[in-house]
Amino acid sequence: MSNDWIVLEEVGKWAGLEGEALDSYLRLASQVHNRAVEQSGEKYEMDTEYFQFLNQEVLSTPEIEELITNQGLSPEKLSAIRTGNVDFGEFLSETHLVDYTLDEIVDFVMILKLIDGYRSRVEDAPMPLDKLYYLSFTVNYRLSKSDDIVRFEDSLGIGNLQRTGYRYSFIKQGGYPFSESLERDKNRLIAWNLLNERTAPNLRNCEYPFELSIGERGEFFLTRYQKKMKQFDSLLLKTWENEQRRVLNDFAAEPIESLHSFLQSIDLVQQVQEGNVVLHGRPMNFTENNEQSTKGVNAHV
C-alpha cells in the first residue's frame, strides 16, 4: 500500500479543493483512511481493489461528506464522492505520466543509435562523454551545410538542419561545443537504464571524465527493434541517419585530438565567444502525420 495515500491528495485536487480546505480534507481523509484500513481493510484485496476500498470505506463516509459540502465543489464531483463513484482513472492516469513529444523521443533514439554505432566501430569500447557532444554537434553542423531536402524554404540558412537533426543547441564551453539539453537527455536515458555512465578519470585530453555505454534496457530496446532501427523509412530521418553514419565513419575510431582539430577548424566554433551559442538545434518539429511545424529558432541550449 506504499504511498497510496497520495491518491487522497489527488482526489482532493481533482475535486477542486485548494489551500487550507485541501489540507483540512487531507487530514480528515487520512484519519478516516487509517481507521478504515484497520476496521475493514481485510475485506479488500488492496493490490487490486484499493480504489474500490477508497470509494466505499473512505470517500463516501459521512465525515468526508460533511467536510466537503459547501466548499463550492461541482455537483457532479460532489455526487461522485458522496456515492462512492469516483472514477480514479480520470485524473490518476496522467498524474505520473512521463509524456514526451515525438521530437524528444526521436532525439533519444538517435542518441542510442549514435552510441550503438560508435561501439560497433571501436570494438565495443565505451564512448567518452566529450565525444557525445562533439559527434552530435558534428552531425548537426554537417546537416546545416547540406541542403538536399530543403529546396524551397531555407529561410534560416541552415540547410537540412532546418528540418532534421538533433534539437539541441550548442554553446562554446572550454573552447568546444557543449549542449545542456543534450546533457539533460543523456541523464534521462541513464535514469531509465537505457544508457550507463561511469567515471573515467584517466581519459586523456578529455574535458569530462565520464564514459557512456548502452544500458541493460538499451540492449533490450536495440535488440527488440533491431529491424526498425536499422533503416528508417522517413526521408527526414534517413537524411539524419546517413549523416550520423558518415560522422561515425570519419571520427568514431579517431583519437579525441582529431575531433579537437576538426572542431577548431570550423569558423563558427572559432569565432563565437566562450559561453555563446555556436549552433542552434533543429527549429522544426516532426509531427505524427509526417508533416512539420515551424517552431522558430530553438534557443534552448
Binding site: 506504499s2 495515500w5 497520495i6 487520512s30 487509517n34 541523464n187 534521462r188 535514469a191
Partner: protein, 186 residues
C-alpha cells in the same frame, strides 16, 4: 543515521518507534521556498496528529556532499541509501556534473521510500518542473510550497509512521538491506 546503525525490521516485529532518515540534497545556501529545509521538516513533523512520538525525522543535511561522493565512494552510496525520504533541490538536477549519480541512486529507492524534488526558482517554476520530468521518473516534482509540504507531511504521517505504515517500513528496510548488500557484499 549511519550505515552501522541501520538494521532491517523483522517480518513479525511490532514497530513502536521509527527513526526516519531524510536526506536533503541541496546546496548549503539553498532554502526550501524561503525556509531552511531542516526547519520545514520539523514543522511538518509537528503536524502529524496520530502518535507523532512514534516517528522521529532525522535529517541528513550533508546530502549533496554524500550524493556527489556516491559516484566513486561506495560508503557514501550506502550512507545515501539508508534514507527513505529524499528531498532534492531542483538546482542539483540542472547544470551539474553529478545529476547522473543522483538520479541513478534515487531510482534505487524502494517504492516504499519517497523522492520529492522542490522547484522554488523565482520564475518559470512550472517550466523548470517540466524540464526535470523523467530525470528521476518516480520522483514527485513540486513547484508549490503547499504541495511540497503535503508530500513531506504525508510521507512522515503515513509511510514513516509505525501507526500507519508498519508493513511499508518493514518492506523498505528489507529492500534497503538487500541494496546495501549489493553495494558492499562484506
Amino acid at each position: 543515521m549511519s550505515v552501522a546503525n541501520f538494521r532491517p525490521y523483522d517480518d513479525g516485529e511490532d514497530i513502536q518507534y521509527h527513526d526516519e532518515n531524510v536526506v536533503i540534497i541541496c546546496d548549503a545556501k539553498a532554502t526550501c521556498f524561503g525556509t531552511d529545509p531542516l526547519d520545514l521538516i520539523k514543522e511538518e513533523k509537528k503536524r502529524i496528529k496520530e502518535c507523532p512520538d512514534s516517528v522521529d525525522a532525522t535529517p541528513e543535511p550533508e546530502g549533496l556532499k554524500i550524493a556527489r561522493n556516491a559516484d566513486t565512494d561506495y560508503q557514501s552510496q550506502m550512507q545515501l541509501h539508508v534514507n527513505s525520504l529524499w528531498l532534492i533541490h531542483y538546482s542539483c538536477l540542472l547544470d551539474s556534473d553529478y545529476v547522473g549519480t543522483i538520479s541513478n541512486n534515487a531510482n534505487l529507492v524502494p517504492d516504499t521510500g519517497q523522492v520529492v524534488v522542490w522547484v522554488d526558482c523565482k520564475n518559470d517554476r512550472r517550466e523548470v518542473a517540466e524540464d526535470l520530468t523523467g530525470i528521476i521518473p518516480r520522483a514527485y516534482i513540486e513547484h508549490s510550497e503547499a504541495d511540497f509540504r503535503r508530500k513531506v507531511w504525508g510521507y512522515l504521517s503515513h509511510t514513516a509512521n509505525p501507526e500507519n505504515g508498519q508493513e511499508d517500513l518493514k518492506e523498505w528496510s528489507q529492500e534497503v538491506h538487500r541494496t546495501l548488500e549489493c553495494i558492499d557484499p562484506q
